[in-house]
């Protein structure tokens, strides 16, 4: 099992990002995803900066670096930026919108299908493979059963399986909107957001009126308030055809998280339970934690 570091979903400052990746390159990660997937107004790093960072990371040690594209591509300027990303000429791209799939297919560039693409069956996966998809990150709501069914269906269709990378750890991206919920919380119009999401290194907690943590507001993205953590379910993931685990960056203690995952990948016993959630994997509401009883 390989460990990958997903793109940073929050808006961190340039020094914060550079320090974070300086730490991350020391970690036992096979792949690092760079780039902005949430909001085109976030420009702490430009495309050239991301490419420069990728070169630095790869000089330090052998690591695969992938550039992730925006999930909700609306304005003409966003589409032009996406074209430049797909034309980068150095790094594989993670497509998070069908527009990116089209651009990459036209360029005959292999790509990763990110979790924001709606791929839920082998027929769809085959369509994307014909466009150049090499690796599939299933939608976060995909259950273990659905994942296994998709892989079985691919086998039945005699289509080779793509590499499977599962979103295993972090706040799950759940929705994308035209509206910026962070700006709304701060009583600012989106056009004058003053980049207020940068004040919240791990988003803004939204609770029910009873104080139950529900969602994390992250600009135009709504995330889970709970942290997905599939480490206790590692044996099930391994048995289901998962090749890679995606760990989604958090503001604190990422190195410790990676160390825990790396230990289990290296043969250590997985923890018996977690304080996070894993409901989606078991076909349950995503916010739940399902305790597996070992047989």
């Amino acid at each position: 099992m390989k460990l990958t570091l997903g793109p940073v979903l929050f808006y961190w400052s340039r020094p914060h990002l550079l320090q974070f990746y300086a730490d991350m390159i020391e970690q036992p990660l096979q792949t690092i995803y760079l780039g902005e997937t949430v909001c085109s107004k976030r420009r702490a790093l430009s495309l050239d900066d991301w490419l420069g960072l990728a070169r630095e990371l790869r000089q330090q040690r052998e690591v695969e670096v992938v550039l992730s594209g925006l999930a909700l591509v609306e304005a003409a300027s966003e589409l032009s930026a996406l074209k430049r990303l797909c034309d980068n000429g150095e790094l594989m791209v993670e497509a998070n919108d069908m527009g990116a799939v089209q651009l990459l297919a036209e360029r005959q560039q292999p790509f990763v299908a990110g979790p924001a693409l709606n791929l839920y069956n082998a027929h769809s996966l085959r369509e994307l493979q014909q466009c150049g998809m090499q690796r599939w990150v299933p939608p976060v709501e995909c259950s273990g059963r659905l994942l296994q069914d998709c892989l079985q269906q691919l086998d039945d269709l005699q289509v080779p399986r793509p590499e499977v990378e599962l979103f295993a750890y972090g706040h799950m991206p759940l929705a994308y909107s035209a509206r910026c919920f962070t700006a709304r919380a701060e009583n600012r119009p989106k056009d004058d957001c003053q980049f207020c999401c940068q004040n919240f290194a791990e988003g803004l907690l939204m609770e029910s009126q009873e104080g139950e943590p529900l969602f994390t507001l992250n600009g135009i993205q709504t995330m889970s308030a709970k942290v997905c953590d599939l480490l206790p379910d590692y044996p099930a993931l391994q048995a289901s055809g998962v090749d890679r685990l995606r760990l989604s960056p958090r503001a604190e203690d990422m190195a410790a998280v990676i160390a825990r995952y790396a230990a289990v990948c290296g043969g250590a016993q997985p923890p018996a339970s977690s304080e996070g959630c894993n409901g989606y994997w078991y076909g349950q509401p995503g916010m739940l934690y399902v305790q597996q009883v070992s047989s």
């Binding site: 085959r126 035209a178 029910s208």
Partner: protein, 331 residues
């Protein structure tokens, strides 16, 4: 510009036809469509009757097979596509690339429309579906501003349909897992959002509370109107403040934008609401038919516009309407 109206039942379809809808969209009675609600949608006999009426009156019938197919039950989606083709419907509305591929290969003469659930918000995404599946129309998600709709129209040869009136999805359609996060059932996979079976109403000492999957969505005082507990429309707490953190209960209403949409070259406007009553469909279709006729004839509708707006407001969630994302200030 064509008027596309919803029907979740035969009486609703008849109402839409009699009030002047150019096309009516319906779904089969299973999870292949994004309004898979109890008691909704048409069975075979009703579909036959619907089609007969529609042919007599020279209108069009669209069938939505617009959820994402799963391997277990893939045949259901296949069968739905085949049935739509056999019926000779005027368009199949679909989102799943696998379903679109199947439809375009097996039924090359079947008109394909990309569903709003396909979440195509830019010209390149539209090009993907056009080049691979020969889609003849796309329904745009309700996240684009008017300027963005114009940009997409100018840079794509795919004819565009936009939402004109009805419940407002604040999230990009097809890109929202809020419902499954709380209830386990999502629009993409199950054709439902905030499903009724997960809803609980509770009378409390100081009012009424609504819950979804056990989560408190809102609390209403006795004098407050209570709305259906759709996850994105509840009142929540952020940083100590209680408010509609995502969206107020309100409906999309683009009546004022009709001339702009026509200038942009939008080919059809869509009314949301297959889950709505025949009476609702009747009243909304009547208003929009009159508005479109006035616009297409170049008539000054003057005072009439006020009456139309009043009717639409009355039929809206929380009696409020918004231009939604079409207007930047809303975003």
């Amino acid at each position: 510009m064509k008027l596309v109206c919803p029907a979740g039942s035969l009486p609703a379809l008849k109402a839409a036809v009699s009030e002047g809808a150019d096309a009516i969209y319906v779904g089969f009675r299973d999870d292949t469509n994004a309004r898979h609600f109890n008691g909704l949608n048409l069975d075979d006999r009703q579909l036959d009757e619907a089609l007969q009426l529609i042919r007599q009156r020279g209108r069009q019938l669209y069938i939505a097979v617009n959820t994402y197919a799963q391997p277990q039950g893939w045949e259901r989606w296949q069968r739905a596509v085949d049935r739509a083709a056999d019926l000779g419907v005027d368009a199949l509305i679909a989102a799943d690339p696998g379903v679109l591929a199947y439809a375009s290969q097996q039924h090359p003469d079947l008109n394909l429309h990309l569903s709003v659930q396909g979440s195509a918000t830019n010209a390149q995404a539209l090009a993907f579906y056009q080049q691979r599946y020969n889609i003849r129309r796309a329904v745009l998600p309700r996240v684009l501003s008017l300027a963005q709709v114009r940009q997409v129209a100018q840079s794509s040869s795919v004819p565009l349909e936009v939402f004109a009136f009805g419940s407002l999805c604040i999230m990009a359609e097809g890109r929202c897992h809020l419902s499954s996060y709380v209830t386990g059932e999502s629009p993409n996979l199950c054709g439902v959002c905030s499903p009724a079976k997960a809803v609980r109403w509770q009378q409390e000492a100081d009012g009424l509370s609504s819950r979804l999957g056990g989560v408190l969505i809102d609390r209403y005082r006795r004098d407050e109107p209570a709305g259906y507990p759709t996850l994105c429309k509840g009142r929540f707490v952020v940083d100590g403040q209680r408010y509609h953190a995502l969206e107020e209960p309100t409906s999309l209403n683009t009546l004022d934008l009709l001339p702009d949409l026509q200038r942009i070259g939008v080919c059809a406007v869509k009314i949301e609401g297959r889950q709505r009553s025949p009476a609702y469909v009747q009243q909304v279709t009547r208003v929009w038919r009159q508005a479109l006729d006035g616009l297409l004839a170049g008539r000054d509708v003057g005072d009439q516009a006020g009456t139309w707006q009043q009717t639409l407001s009355r039929l809206s969630e929380g009696s409020q309407t918004t231009l939604g994302a079409y207007h930047r200030s809303w975003q």
